[in-house]
């Protein structure tokens, strides 16, 4: 292969100089019929000889001969190489076919090139000829499903080779080996090689999509592939309810008591809901199967299939990517060395909850870095345990107060005071400069010089959306918000949808955004599932989110809730009845996500006893806060006011400019329960 390129390189200067000579001659002799010498060597020779005969004929002939020779040589080399490759390839195929039970051992990099290669074979010019040679060694895929892989490779390679000069007896493994669906090799008995609906990621969005697909497509066969060892579960209780449980075995059972007294598991459904992956193909009523502990490492959009980390492949008709994200970490911690990293928790999964629970019982001090939802919720949860465990809980963040990026300053300050009351030591306006492990303790040095000594760190500084498959699948990644870029119907490309934290989607009302909340995962998962079964509905039903900072402070919100926007807050005086606990008790729901509600909301019971009015000056007990963008309400926070979300949703959906927001606030009846 390299010989070819060097040969071409050597010829190039020669060709160039010859061509300038030729051009001069051609112009001189008036042969300007546009035909370049390179293309038509044969005819040129004759015309060149004739035309060049007038002047500088000798140069012309030399040039003609050289170019002609070069072309013929090039073509011959190409032809030879192709034929050789083909022969080698066929040999390989035969060899592999004769050893069908080899164990897989390859890294994913080799098979990955398999997909890349065929696409570059279209043009059999010299530089690319080298690539084709790689087909042969790459085909030496010793995956358990090797025969299937070749079946797919063969038609692809075959298609491309048709472009080459020599194409006759292309491949022995012709299209007799049809889509791998037809084959079920013994080694792929643990899961089907083809599923109609494939969901990558086993979180909330994926589960919601599975449910949606099953509801709409009777007898649908759905396969969920997840990296985690757990079945799909809901995340909010991991930083809230599970910490408030009195049950000492909560880390095992993962059950939590909702405020309405009902207990439930964080798992969406018990294991009996799902069917086994190997039964998916044969089940006549279909079902949802979950493959745990598998990572999808490569996606072939043209071939409609994915490859997992063990080398096996699954093809699909429709695919959902719901890979969520990975918690971010501070660079200073990552650079701080292993001792520090060992004592740092990035909180997201069940195993993180279990680990942190254990840690909280065994250390004297925990510091949470980050003042957003997760950080504040964990701080409150741990703060409540602080007296029980003799634990010091510190929370530090760069903003002035908790939820500084979400709530307007006055509310953020008020919230911070409440968090302090939960037993948390707050260090605001804190930028971490370095972290070191000294004297069996972690020392966090801030940019303004303050030093905080602690035993364990929880880093809650954001989520990095997981877009690992973007490269292999050729999917667009959004540069502003991160995540896969999808349209209003959550579609990335034909047959590929994205939902949940990883989806940067177009919201018809509010513009392009990416939302990292539970209800959004449910809503978008459900929508994606619906669209996978044939509808094309855009994202329209606005998802909501909520947060509880202890039993006394809670809020629900919807839309774009960004503290940098101008806000208008309308508050009433709070009564003792206005707490998240009371709200949940009244509505009969355990978890406030509306899309989750399996027990429908019943009408709130009107209280007959007179409410005790809590009088505080400027006490932001309950109210509603409007977030405005160009005078239109784009976000609403319901502060200790519950069961009014439909009204809020309606106002955002309308997208109207309201002259007096106090009048709009009246719609919420904030003084009532």
């Amino acid at each position: 292969m390299l010989k070819c390129r060097t040969a071409w390189n050597k010829l190039a200067p020669l060709a160039r100089s010859s061509s300038t000579v030729c051009r001069r001659n051609v112009r001189g002799t008036g042969l300007t019929n546009g035909r370049t010498p390179i293309c038509v060597p044969a005819t040129h020779m004759s015309s060149g000889a004739g035309g060049g005969g007038g002047g500088g004929g000798w140069d012309n002939t030399i040039y003609a001969v050289l170019v002609g020779a070069a072309c013929v040589g090039g073509m011959t080399l190409t032809y030879k190489t192709l034929k050789e490759d083909q022969r080698r390839y066929e040999e390989r195929i035969a060899e592999i076919a004769s050893r069908p039970h080899r164990q897989e051992a390859l890294t994913s990099s080799e098979p990955a090139e398999l997909e890349v290669v065929p696409s570059s074979e279209a043009d059999p010019t010299a530089p690319e000829v080298e690539v084709e040679a790689e087909v042969a060694p790459e085909v030496e895929v010793e995956a358990a499903v090797a025969p299937e892989v070749e079946a797919v490779v063969a038609p692809e390679v075959e298609a491309e080779l048709i472009a080459a000069p020599a194409t006759e007896a292309v491949s022995p493994s012709e299209s007799t080996e049809l889509p791998p669906a037809a084959e079920s090799k013994p080694s792929s008995a643990t899961f089907p090689s083809h599923v109609p609906y494939l969901l990558i990621g086993g979180g909330t969005a994926s589960f919601a999509a599975a449910r949606s697909i099953r509801a709409r497509d009777p007898n649908a066969k759905v396969l969920i592939v997840t990296e985690e060892p757990d079945l799909p579960y809901m995340r909010p209780p991991l930083s809230k309810e599970l910490w408030f449980s009195d049950d000492s075995s909560v880390t095992e059972t993962l059950r939590f008591k909702q405020w309405n007294g009902k207990e439930r598991s964080i798992y969406f459904q018990p294991p009996s809901f799902y069917i086994k992956a190997e039964e998916l193909g044969s089940s006549e009523n279909g079902g949802v199967a979950v493959l745990t502990g598998r990572k999808v490492v490569h996606m072939d959009v043209r071939g409609n299939k994915i490859k997992m980390d063990d080398g096996s492949e699954i093809s699909y008709d429709k695919c959902l990517i719901a890979t969520g994200g990975i918690p971010r970490n501070l660079q200073v911690i990552e650079r701080a060395g292993e001792e520090v990293m060992k004592r740092t928790t990035l909180f997201r999964k069940i195993e993180d909850f279990k680990a942190l629970d254990k840690v909280s019982r065994n250390v004297k001090s925990i510091t949470i870095i980050g003042g957003g939802f997760l950080g504040s919720e964990l701080a409150c949860a741990l703060g409540r345990k602080s007296s029980e465990f003799g634990l010091e809980v510190v929370q530090m963040f760069p903003e002035k107060g908790n939820m500084g990026k979400v709530l307007p300053e006055y509310l953020s300050n008020w919230t911070t005071e409440r968090v302090k009351r939960e037993g948390v030591k707050i260090i605001s306006e804190a930028l971490v400069k370095s972290v070191s492990f000294i004297d069996d303790e972690l020392e966090i040095t801030l940019k303004d010089g303050r030093v905080v000594k602690t035993d364990h760190i929880v880093s809650a500084v954001g989520l990095e959306p997981n877009v690992d498959l973007a490269k292999s699948a050729g999917l667009e990644v959004d540069s502003d918000f991160g995540g896969y870029r999808v349209n209003a119907e959550l579609q990335a490309r034909s047959n590929i949808w994205v939902a949940g934290d990883a989806a940067c989607f177009y919201d018809i009302r509010l513009g392009r955004r990416r939302v990292e909340h539970h209800d959004h995962a449910v809503v978008s998962g459900r929508l994606a599932g619906e669209n996978m079964t044939g509808t094309s509905k855009p994202y329209w039903h606005q998802s909501m989110f909520w947060s509880d900072l202890g039993p006394d402070v809670g809020y629900e919100a919807i839309g774009i809730v960004d503290s940098s926007l101008p806000t208008v807050g309308v508050f009433a005086k709070a009564t003792a009845k206005d707490t998240p606990k009371a709200a949940a008790e009244q509505s009969g729901t355990g978890i406030r996500s509306e899309s989750e509600t399996e027990d429908t909301a019943t009408s709130p019971v009107a209280s007959t006893s007179p409410a005790t009015v809590v009088e505080h000056k400027d006490d932001y007990g309950k109210g509603v806060i409007f977030y405005l963008r160009d005078k239109v309400v784009v976000g609403i926070v319901l502060w200790n006011v519950f069961n009014r979300m439909p009204v809020a949703r309606k106002i955002i959906k309308d997208g109207e400019e309201h002259a007096d927001l106090n009048e709009v606030a009246k719609l919420f009846n904030i003084h009532e329960d």
Binding site: R214, E409, Y410, E598, T602, N662, A665, K666
Partner: protein, 144 residues
């Protein structure tokens, strides 16, 4: 009386109950009950059952999903005097299936499940000022 304060770009208004007694003059756009984009309740505008309604939970998607759908559809379209009287077989099939999965379908309220869902789910209508009533009739399009 209410008072108002401005803190930078944020405006804060405190209101008493009396301030909010007069009905609001804020205008809201009327909803189109046939809007295809909107989330539907249990019954779609054309009278069909919306199997994707959150109110049904996992009933239509679980292992006994097809039996549930058959039984429920039969009940829904039943024109008998005693609604659903001809659907006994379907319901029995459903019950048998559900008994195989006691974890998923707890036995004590499973008989109540199907008919109850139909009347309760009406409350998932999009804009129901404040309280949601469980007793809204379910025939016809979902009120918006």
């Amino acid at each position: 009386m209410s008072y108002c304060r401005q803190e930078g770009k944020d405006r804060i208004i405190f209101v008493t109950k009396e301030d909010h007694e007069a009905p609001s003059n804020a205008e809201l756009i009327a909803d189109d009950p046939n809007d295809p984009y909107e989330e539907q309740g249990l019954i779609l505008p054309n009278g069909d059952i919306n199997w994707n309604c959150p109110c049904l939970g996992g009933m239509a998607s679980g292992p006994c999903g097809s039996q549930f759908k058959e039984a429920f559809s039969c009940f829904h379209y039943s024109k008998e005097e005693v609604k659903g009287s001809e659907c006994i077989d379907h319901f029995r099939n459903m019950q048998e299936c559900m008994q195989k999965f006691p974890e998923l379908y707890p036995q004590e309220d499973e008989k109540e499940n199907a008919p109850q869902k139909e009347s309760d789910s009406a409350s998932t209508a999009p804009l129901d000022n404040a309280a949601s009533s469980p007793d809204t009739p379910t025939e016809g399009p979902e009120a918006s």
